[in-house]
Subunit: 384 residues, 2 copies
Amino acid sequence: MQRSLPTEMKFSLTATDPNSSARAGVVQTSHGEIETPIFMPVGTAGSVKAVHQRELENDIKAEIILGNTYHLYLRPSIDILETAGGLHKFIGWNKPILTDSGGYQVYSLSENRKIIESGVTFKSHIDGSTHFFSPENVMDIQRSIGADIIMAFDECTPYPCEYSYAKESMVLTHQWLTRCMARLNETEPRYGYEQTLFPIVQGSVYSDLREQSAEFVAAQNLKGNAIGGLSVGEPHDIMYEMTEKICRILPSDKPRYLMGVGTPENILECIALGIDMFDCVMPTRNARNGMLFTTQGIINIRNEKWKTDLSPIDSALGGYVSTFHSKAYLRHLIINKEILGAQIASIHNLTFYLWLVRQARNEIIKGTFRTWKDEMVKKVSARL
Amino acid sequence: MQRSLPTEMKFSLTATDPNSSARAGVVQTSHGEIETPIFMPVGTAGSVKAVHQRELENDIKAEIILGNTYHLYLRPSIDILETAGGLHKFIGWNKPILTDSGGYQVYSLSENRKIIESGVTFKSHIDGSTHFFSPENVMDIQRSIGADIIMAFDECTPYPCEYSYAKESMVLTHQWLTRCMARLNETEPRYGYEQTLFPIVQGSVYSDLREQSAEFVAAQNLKGNAIGGLSVGEPHDIMYEMTEKICRILPSDKPRYLMGVGTPENILECIALGIDMFDCVMPTRNARNGMLFTTQGIINIRNEKWKTDLSPIDSALGGYVSTFHSKAYLRHLIINKEILGAQIASIHNLTFYLWLVRQARNEIIKGTFRTWKDEMVKKVSARL
């Protein structure tokens, strides 16, 4: 019984690429090992949209999924999750779970949010009710959700963002981090297994702020580190530039998580810069709109050109939905707004994302990542 | 290769219940055997909504599914289905398929429909384009779809319906049946396996018309017979009364299909009257709204009472979704409009429907159907 034996989270490097900063590693958690680089499907409100848990495990081969604190706090509520014995048990997922801090959703979804030093008051996007998130109660909430990896409560600045606001916000995020750490130190894991805090580097697109933030975060000596506030609309080059600078500062013996990224191209480029963990709603959200990421490039399945294409969705990828069903059938389902279309496309895209990071890992171990990556970026970005 | 050896459809009776008109039988088709009584999940436009094909086969254990001619004709179109080699290949379903004649949808979904003796002109509910269905072209369309069982093109009268209109409509349906039979006789099966016509008894709620129609239909000596125009809003007692009268006339050595029925209670009662085949959108449509049919009774999962009920959806039913997930989790998903909620509830309800008819079959074979049915009707109709 893995659950009853709390394991301290450990990260070990398996290999580093000689021609880039890419690394292959293993994160050990109480709910099993995660081979990095890894992509984490987003399970917003306790469900990776349109995907059964057994499909996540058997088809997609996900090793860790995300939960959104904001959504889970509002529904089903922390009470119910505690009664169930945590999110793992509530949804039937026995591998690791990472929860975000709820900050991002508070800023993007809720109305009348007000940030003060003590925390954020916000109104629920569901019923307009008023709530308050602080570094302290967000730690308590993530403990109750039962996340293996808990994210610090931060402010995620929008793009563009004035320098002065970005700096002020970064300072607040650092203060909040100190409070998050204090709160976790004075509370116990909720369900008998370790719950590890990842701090978040902020600082918008300003190199000096990003470096300052990375230094601060690195100095906390936590078991993993994250980069937030990127992939919020800034040009990709700026995202890569910031990521590179931050990765040089964040310790190499800890996993690095780039939040909310991104396209297959973004992921490959950021693996090359030293990122180990990714999450993004893109594979599932775009799937529901008919955008497919494949081993041959990007497909808009709604296009007329796929109407009579009876070839498999992606025979090179393998797996049930990608080889069993044709492009023409999937197109028909998506055009017809059939739920099964969203199901097939979501499983396909996530299978592709997990395949991509697994391939990257193999290439890193073989020492051939850099050349493979350059070719692969072209391939997966092509519009078919 | 079953497909390359056309099998003539055969029905054999396995057992008859001594205390009712219930029968257990086997329908043999080119795509495999169907054990009756059977429930046929509705695969409207080439997808049983929210259910993967492998789930239909492995979890639900469906033996035959329905396709809707009206929907498939409009989208993806007969051209594409022919290019794919028929609906079986297009959707990836290698067991039998029955298609309705499109009549029901023409009357219920399309605008400005106009019935004349030669057929029906109607406007697509999708884009308003004008189309024409006749007994002849609907036979051709069903041939092209590749249905194992083809339904005659009929007029399905609404409820209530004036006697004079019901009579006139019945006469038209009989004329159309003659034309359907002629058309099928002068055309070949489309994909090398047998395609069998089922005629449809009409006559609204008028016993004399129903008996007259059943006599006419029985006299055609086709390989199976159907009852249409019931379950359209009339009281259940009237539906049972009509079904009973018709079943007395339809030959006992042919399968009897009651179209569009119904609740678990309706199905059990009509099995007792001699019906062998059923279809209905209820298990999937109601699933999407949170109504669950279980071995213990009917559940509205949206009700507050299930909010913290962490017991399995239906442990007595067995199967992945019904035992793996809790009522509280399913409620959360449905309330949160998560697609996975529709998926789980749909698989559950269909698994239940298939379980119910399989149980009925076992009881018929054991000779204990009648008493079992009386108890089961109470159980499955109870509101939990």
